[in-house]
């Protein structure tokens, strides 16, 4: 496996909702095994970018390239098949509320991957173990805390063996005391070499595991760099101002 293989790439992505221009020509590449973090103020288009990269909505301009193939080049491509190889974790845990934790993770394996039940169960348990939820498998979403639900959601995405995992502020909807358990899981996954693109405001997480941090604002990526550089010496004034506020909040150096 080539170490610098590009798994997912956004090419000059633009997105308009009516007259509102949310993304203005963004290019981004995610290499196999890397953890990339996007930071930036709210309303800068981060979620939209992630949804476009996850093929959950089409861009108005530009395209998405998954493992070398332009997914919008031909309408013969089965987008569902590609989606199943791109994991997605949302702000809200978004678990299927009529299914237990285990069945939530099994569903995609059975329905999309057409696995046998026992095979799907084995795979699902494995994923649930990765997020330390193996003792909660028979619980329904309503019986789990927000942090636990989000961990199950991560397992649900992981079980599909995605080439890349996209996470859209996975801790934003959680109370502070539930945040750490999710962050911890994310750090473990990053260290295992799972390819990730994470939108987050958790600077300590970014500092610890990110190979690269990108700063995004007003629909554009202003700069990308290794954490030390971007967090300590941002080049663009916007990034400077944003980090000053954000790191000020955390009392960091």
């Amino acid at each position: 496996m080539c170490a610098s293989e590009i798994v997912l790439e956004g090419k000059k992505i633009g997105k308009k909702y009516g007259k509102l221009e949310v993304l203005r020509g963004i290019s981004i590449r995610i290499k196999r095994g890397e953890t990339k973090v996007i930071i930036g103020p709210s309303g800068s288009g981060k979620s939209t970018l992630l949804r476009i990269l996850g093929l959950l909505e089409p861009p108005t301009k530009g395209t998405v390239i998954f493992k070398g193939m332009d997914v919008y080049a031909s309408n013969k491509l089965n987008l569902n098949k590609i989606r199943s190889k791109i994991g997605f974790v949302f702000q809200q845990p978004s678990l299927f509320r009529h299914l237990t934790a285990l069945d939530n993770v099994k569903l995609g394996l059975k329905v999309v991957r057409k696995m046998r039940d026992d095979e799907a169960k084995r795979k699902a348990l494995e994923a649930l173990r990765l997020v330390h939820m193996e003792e909660w498998i028979d619980h329904y979403p309503a019986q789990l805390s927000g942090g636990q639900q989000q961990r199950v959601a991560i397992a649900r995405a992981l079980a599909m063996d995605p080439d890349v995992l996209l996470m859209d502020e996975p801790t934003a909807s959680l109370d502070i005391e539930l945040t750490w358990e999710v962050i911890e899981v994310m750090e473990e996954l990053a260290k295992k070499g799972i390819t990730m693109l994470v939108v987050t405001h958790e600077i300590p997480f970014a500092k610890e595991v990110a190979n690269e941090i990108c700063f995004m604002s007003e629909g554009m990526i202003h700069e990308c760099d290794i954490p030390e550089n971007l967090l300590r010496n941002p080049k663009t004034p916007r990034a400077k101002a944003f980090l000053k506020r954000l790191i000020g909040e955390f009392g960091g150096r």
Partner: protein, 225 residues
């Protein structure tokens, strides 16, 4: 002449009439269940034209009386198409079409209460629209809808009495016949009323029991976290 001796002689007929009422309600409810689900899916997830068609359909069947619909289909379809059909077939089809319009409303309400983020999550797993409907939307809809749906069960069961207009010997029609032959309308209609009453409240208890059995904690409540 207040003796109920007529009852033992006529009870097999009453029982037969009651069975016909059950049969026709069952046909209307199950047919309406399938068609109502499709109508609700069309209204919630369909395009503009689909929505307009669904709404016109619903407005027609909810806006006009079942009796008129029964007469229209029973007499009208053979006259228009030359296809002769029995009263029971015509009645069952009309009940289905009618009940579908009402059931659609209940299903729609339940579908709209399913948080949208689940659909997006299913999409991100690579599920097709058909799979999402089958595995995410419908299993939740059918569980959430039961309490509201039981209204349609009650109302359709009562509506089957309208079938006497096209000559189907359901419970009320049977009662009318017996009353005319025995000259005991007070007793006959009282017994009839009691049968409807007991059946409807008994069946409601069964529905409630089923609902409790297949209930899933937290499902249908608005709180997500």
């Amino acid at each position: 002449m207040s003796s109920f001796s007529w009852l033992s002689w006529w009870s097999p007929f009453i029982f037969k009439g009651f069975l016909m009422t059950l049969k026709m309600s069952a046909a209307g409810l199950t047919g309406g269940f399938v068609l109502g689900s499709l109508l609700a899916l069309g209204d919630v997830y369909g395009g503009k034209i689909t929505k307009a068609v669904v709404n016109a359909y619903v407005e027609f069947f909810r806006g006009s009386p079942l009796i008129v619909q029964l007469l229209m289909f029973y007499y009208g379809i053979p006259a228009l198409t030359g296809y002769e059909w029995s009263a029971v077939t015509a009645g069952a089809i009309t009940l289905m079409l009618n009940s579908a319009a009402y059931q659609k409303g209940y299903f729609k309400g339940a579908m709209e209460s399913i948080p949208k983020d689940q659909l997006m999550a299913a999409r991100s797993l690579g599920m097709s629209t058909r799979q999402i409907v089958l595995h995410i939307v419908l299993p939740q809809t059918y569980r959430i809808v039961i309490p509201a749906w039981s209204n349609e069960f009650v109302s359709l069961t009562k509506s089957t009495s309208a079938l006497l207009i096209i000559g189907i010997m359901e419970l009320t029609a049977t009662a009318m016949t017996i009353s005319a032959l025995t000259f005991k309308p007070l007793q006959v209609y009282s017994v009839t009323a009691i049968i409807y009453f007991i059946w409807i409240y008994f069946a409601l208890k069964i529905i409630e029991y089923i609902y409790e059995r297949i209930r899933i904690p937290g499902l249908g409540e608005t709180k997500t976290l």
